[in-house]
């Protein structure tokens, strides 16, 4: 996309560098002049929040690595040493463990926002699929990170999740032994999980770069779901407008994040993980971290081992097919009244599955999880394909500028803002 301003170097060094590596003009085009739809709401700040959280997790994680020992007899003690003896270690550790939760919280909002406003639709299919890949990498990273403290829940979570692969016909058991590097979850497993937990975040960074690249090719979607027609009427420059708006989002998100770090740091964790791993004793209830609960509920709701595992992975994989499952010509949920109802039912089914995932797998809970699982998959394979054929949508504005005009009732242009500028200068 062509930017709203051009980068014209005056400084001699900058000119010299530009001729050899045009990194400054690239950065200017991508993060300063980049045209941003002016009707974006605060739900769009979660992209910036997620970038912030990714950096925060990598920085705290790298420092924690300097104090952590990935060895099964020492790992638990080294984490306690971080908590008790290392300067500020308690803060780094709580920031990292709660940071994972905040990261997932933000990514779920980011995904629901994308679904509500149809951000996956043409021409943003690749952008969306890259997002699904990031989500998968995040899940792998989060799971392996949870194993590192080598508490009871780490150990038994690792045991349960790696055993999922034993459901694969014929080679399942061999694959599981290969994953473990032994005949049970043990030191080799911990070592490789640590290596991968350190590697995967940098793979996430790489895929995020592709995600942002794809975003900058297609431009951002927006709440009205209409493509930008005239960047001078429909858009504002990324800096300062979007950067400042993202900063507001990040600042308020930080308040939530720090509330968890400093006042309820163990709220989202499981008490059992403060007991060192004991391969001879399983905790009464094995519960994954909250961000995996909906999928865990789907897994447990199906009585067949292989079918349960397939259903769980399908629940995530189906996201990648969303661009083709949704047949509606109208992009934004804002102009799709029936879709909106189903969207909120879908959100509710996700939250409900999350709650059921934390409950014991018995009696009515399993039945309820089955019902909500059907709702979850039904949204993708029944509702979205059919709605596009039958739904009567409301009129979509011709352009972003029109949409803003209709809402605020005032013409907006750079000229108008220039005229009003003198008044704001005291």
């Amino acid at each position: 996309m062509h930017g709203l301003s051009t980068f014209e170097p005056k400084n001699g060094f900058v000119k010299w560098l530009e001729a050899r590596l045009p990194i400054l003009s690239f950065a200017h085009g991508s993060f300063v002049a980049f045209p941003t739809p002016k009707n974006l709401n605060y739900w769009w700040t979660f992209g910036g929040i997620l970038s912030f959280m990714l950096i925060a997790q990598i920085v705290t994680g790298v420092v924690l690595t300097m104090h952590y020992t990935p060895e099964s007899t020492l790992a638990f003690g080294s984490v306690e040493k971080i908590m008790r003896d290392v300067n500020w270690g308690w803060m780094l550790r709580y920031a990292h463990s709660n940071g994972a939760s905040m990261f997932f919280f933000a990514v779920y909002i980011h995904m629901f926002r994308g679904i509500y406003y149809g951000s996956y639709k043409s021409p943003r299919e690749v952008l969306w699929i890259l997002g699904v890949i990031i989500f998968l990498l995040m899940m792998a990273t989060g799971f392996m990170g949870y194993v590192l403290p080598w508490g009871q829940m780490s150990f038994w979570g690792a045991t349960v999740i790696t055993n999922l692969f034993s459901a694969i016909p014929l080679v399942g058991d061999d694959i599981t032994v290969w994953l473990w590097g032994g005949f049970s979850v043990d030191n080799p497993t911990l070592n490789r999980f640590f290596a991968l937990h350190y590697l995967l975040p940098f793979m996430i960074v790489a895929v995020v770069a592709l995600h942002v690249w794809a975003l900058h090719v297609c431009g951002q979607n927006n709440p009205d779901g209409v493509e930008v027609q005239d960047i001078h009427k429909d858009c504002v420059p990324f800096t300062p407008h979007a950067t400042m708006k993202d900063s507001v989002g990040i600042a308020f998100f930080l308040i939530l994040y720090c509330w968890f770090i400093f006042y309820i740091p163990n709220y989202l964790g499981d008490a059992d993980n403060y007991i060192p791993a004991n391969p001879m004793k399983t905790p009464a209830h094995i519960v994954p971290e909250w961000y995996f609960l909906p999928y865990y509920a789907i897994l447990r709701s199906i009585p067949n081992k292989l079918a349960g595992v397939i259903a769980m992975f399908a629940a995530i994989a189906i996201l990648a097919f969303l661009p083709w499952l949704d047949t509606s010509k109208v992009r934004s949920g804002k102009y799709r009244p029936i879709f909106r109802i189903f969207f909120w039912i879908f959100v509710a089914s996700g939250i409900g599955l999350g709650y059921l995932g934390a409950m014991p797998p018995e009696g009515g809970y399993v039945l309820a999880a089955r019902i909500l699982g059907v709702v979850y998959f039904g949204f993708f394979v029944v509702v979205l394909p059919l709605l596009g054929l039958f739904e009567k949508t409301t009129p979509v504005p011709a352009s972003i500028a029109d949409a803003v005009l209709a809402r605020t009732g005032s013409a907006s242009s750079v000229a108008a803002s220039a005229a009003s500028a003198p008044q704001t200068k005291g």
Binding site: W90, V248, I351, Y355, G363, A368
Partner: protein, 281 residues
């Protein structure tokens, strides 16, 4: 705004529906959880926004631990932590003197022999049994190590309590003292005179540890009542400190961080408004 209201509404509706249904959904309680009542929430000096440990209380709790619990339970913390800021507040000399009363197995020395020596501040409390197997052989079960017990035990809070527990409402929310409350309750839970291993609050009611504390068992020198209630409160507070010795600094730093973030968020918000003031959006 309609958007956010809807999210709240839908989330609340789902939670309410699932939670109301949950007693119905739960076909049968898992064995043991059936009649165990939820422990009552106690008043702790270390709860809430400004919580700090009560030093005399931690010192009394340590005395209870030393005279009673330590006969069976290991406490894997170094002596030096007893003198750290935010803890029981023993002086450096007191800590050294206390450490010297313990015998530490060390070595080898230059002659290649293992030897016993008096403890130093940097040593850890020695375990009462050389290994878990020895403890199990002597007692019938391995007593849990105590340094994290206040964070590693819990009881189900249920809906909607677990939601309120996270919220910044003094007295109702910021509930992070589930462990100490359960310790206090268990020490009070030996309600069957004829069965010393029956406990009202312990999951399953059968507890390997027979009633460990009774009125008048430990002498207090600071005039605090020598009652079971006082002992259990003091030792629960001591164990809460042992599990989270950085609690005071965490809450102190947290307060500054929150005040700073509110200032920053306000400034960023108004700066953003200025930037956008000339754009209809």
């Amino acid at each position: 705004m309609a958007f956010t209201r809807k999210i709240g509404f839908v989330a609340a509706a789902v939670f309410a529906a699932v939670a109301i249904a949950s007693p119905v959904l739960r076909a049968e309680e898992p064995p043991g959880f059936a009649e165990a009542p939820s422990p009552e929430r106690q008043n702790w000096s270390f709860s809430g926004f400004f919580g700090t440990f009560d030093k005399p209380q931690l010192q009394r709790g340590f005395k209870v631990y030393k005279e009673v619990c330590s006969n069976c339970h290991e406490l894997r913390i170094p002596f030096r932590t007893l003198g750290q800021p935010g803890g029981p507040g023993f002086s450096e000399d007191q800590v050294k003197a206390l450490a010297a009363t313990y015998t530490i197995h060390d070595g080898p020395n230059l002659a290649g022999d293992m030897f016993d020596r008096p403890g130093r501040a940097s040593d850890y409390f020695p375990p009462p049994f050389p290994n878990p197997e020895a403890a199990a052989a002597a007692l019938g079960a391995v007593p849990p190590e105590m340094s994290l017990i206040a964070k590693s035990i819990k009881f189900e809070r249920g809906f909607p309590n677990f939601v309120f527990d996270a919220l910044p409402i003094p007295g109702l929310g910021i509930y992070q003292e589930v462990g100490p409350d359960l310790i206090y309750a268990i020490l009070h839970g030996y309600t069957k005179e004829d069965d010393p291993n029956w406990n009202l609050y312990f999951p399953g009611h059968k507890i390997a540890m027979a009633k460990p504390l009774a009125d008048g068992q430990v002498d207090y020198t600071d005039g605090a009542p020598t009652t079971l209630s006082q002992y259990s409160k003091d030792v629960a507070a001591f164990l809460a400190w042992a599990a989270e010795p950085t609690l005071e600094v965490r809450k102190r730093v947290g307060l500054r961080v929150m005040l700073f973030l509110f200032l920053l968020a306000g400034l960023v918000y108004f700066a953003k408004k200025r930037v956008w003031s000339d754009v209809a959006h």
